[in-house]
Point group: D2
Chain length 202, copies 4
């Protein structure tokens, strides 16, 4: 494989990028001047240098002076009584931007595949268990996974793994509410959504 194909292979791993667009990225980089490429290279290097993974919630954050934990975890105003478990950083950022939640987060690092034996090595379930034991003010854990077979499976799995710890410390486990979302038209809703909307009526 020549350099063009090798770089295209790397770009193909970027989220949402197929073979054709990966190739276009390479041609785009070739056509741009050296300054652009050098700038890109420096920023990618800086990204690794200037960011770190929070030791508490495992989200990536911008380090200013060698902090161990991120600004959300370090902020005294963050509500320590509630911990939301999300799949990945971009879910966390999306919820953060919505300003509807002011508690702590924990990034699980993935969903649990339905057929999977080596689960523990893939998601941070041990780290989550340790985290919960450390959080003395915690009263509720909110599971915030996408509504899909894998999201549902992860919800069930995490509840099982946390049951004992939470029972012992009287921590409640909840999941984000299911039902009709903005723009949903009843006429085109699937059975599960209708079932959840009916069950969760209020």
């Amino acid at each position: 494989m020549d350099i063009i194909d090798r770089l295209a292979e790397i770009f193909k791993e970027f989220p949402g990028i197929g073979e054709r667009q990966a190739k276009r990225f390479v041609y785009f980089l070739m056509a741009r001047n050296s300054a652009y490429s050098e700038n890109l290279v420096e920023l990618i290097k800086d990204l690794k240098k200037e960011t770190a993974q929070c030791k508490e919630c495992f989200r990536f954050f911008i380090v200013s002076k060698n902090e161990r934990v991120c600004d959300i975890c370090a902020n005294a105003n963050t509500d320590s009584s509630v911990l939301m478990i999300v799949e990945k950083d971009s879910d966390l950022e999306s919820i953060r931007k919505s300003r509807v939640y002011h508690g702590k987060y924990f990034v699980l690092g993935g969903l649990v595949p339905i057929v999977e034996k080596t689960t523990k090595s893939r998601v941070r379930i041990l780290e989550l268990q340790e985290k919960i034991k450390r959080e003395k003010e915690l009263k509720e854990i909110i599971l915030a996974f996408s509504i899909s077979p894998q999201g549902d499976h992860t919800d069930t799995y995490v509840r099982q793994q946390l049951k004992d710890i939470c029972d012992k410390s009287s921590i409640k486990i909840s999941s984000l509410g299911k039902g009709l979302s903005t723009g949903t038209e009843l006429e085109y809703s699937d059975n599960d959504t209708l079932k959840n909307a009916l069950k969760n009526r209020q």
Copy 2:
């Protein structure tokens, strides 16, 4: 306007049909043989003859021997303790097909526009009030409108209009649950959906 344009104008009112497709429908009918057109004409006439609007729930149903009310309203197995208010027939059919609800229905006949003075003439709110007074076994009314500004406005409007009657008879009013629906990805959720999902967590 010639006959082609006049018929296209009518087809343009069909749900989801634009000018171009309306014209195609006319050419399609011209190209099909007379038997097809005659069959279509007969079925449209029969539709009006063989269907009627239920005097109880206002849905359209197939009449066999001059019934006043539809099969759902007439069926002794239908749960009379609960009444679901929907916008239109196709919403009702969608919920019916999902087999998650076994109570009665009421077709409101539309949503209430946000800026609207002559509301009463547009939706069947008076008919709904009368209906509720007649339903002696009724314990709960479920408002089942789409999640949109107009759907929300209709929800608020209907609650106001039914408040007194329901208070008097101790009938509960609920709305379909809001939250994450099937396939929703947290990363791409709007603020309202996240807010509802968080509020309705369980």
Copy 3:
């Protein structure tokens, strides 16, 4: 099948209409008042009464006083030296609206399927042969079919069937030019289009 399903079956044959939308059409008709349905029924009947198939070009046209041929065929300004063969009425209308062609037309009534034995019964090839023999001023026949395997097959088939008649009367047979169409981006063009664009460069 009840009347709702029977009418939906008919609507499903309309161009571009699937099962779901066919059903919506039926609910739409039920919900509209009788006047709307009656109007629709009358217009469909009128369409058959007020239109006729031109005896010369086989397009459908609006009849005013029992004419045998359509306005294009009857118009003395129509260029009789050129005859464009199209698949269907809506192709003819599209070309007519573009005002780039001022000759006569002939509606073949379909494309010739690639695997097909009873071709003659499906498209009006015999009628076309008769038509050409009658047209004394004809100098060129333009085949105007879509660029697809079936369109190409029909092009080849019609050329074969007309060869002898056209050779005898020195009538030229041409096909619409192939190449880049508006909006085509070279980067995303298929091989056949590039081949045709290169071959037909000028």
Copy 4:
């Protein structure tokens, strides 16, 4: 702007990438291990080192031992009697892959905007003129631009700029054929495409 926003800004310039996906790319890079980022950085650097712009056709190519010209230009089997002018590298690669053309290429480096005074500085028209003077075997120049207002404008502009040189050396100038492309349906064709298809019939 922090490092996340700065890198997202760079990714936003990638072809087809909006703000949201640019941000996702950054989170993706943060979440991947250092080895992945380092690999990406090395390949981007190598791309600049291992590729060069051909001094003859201006396409980018992979250099093996300091060549001045690319493999197409250097290949004795390339047909020197014909030169195809394309907008950009990815157009060239698309035509090359189609294996319908075996002549030389010239990458113009862009299209000529319709309202533009400093045209010469933007596209390689001077380099093209020089190139043509050098090519002693050249008999035909093929202009291969997309069918769009800008593509058409560039076609006209390049023809004007090359007219004298080509007239002097009896070099023919042609453009890729316009007409129906694969999949085009007559019913939905725009006027220009129909006009071109009719004009270029054969």
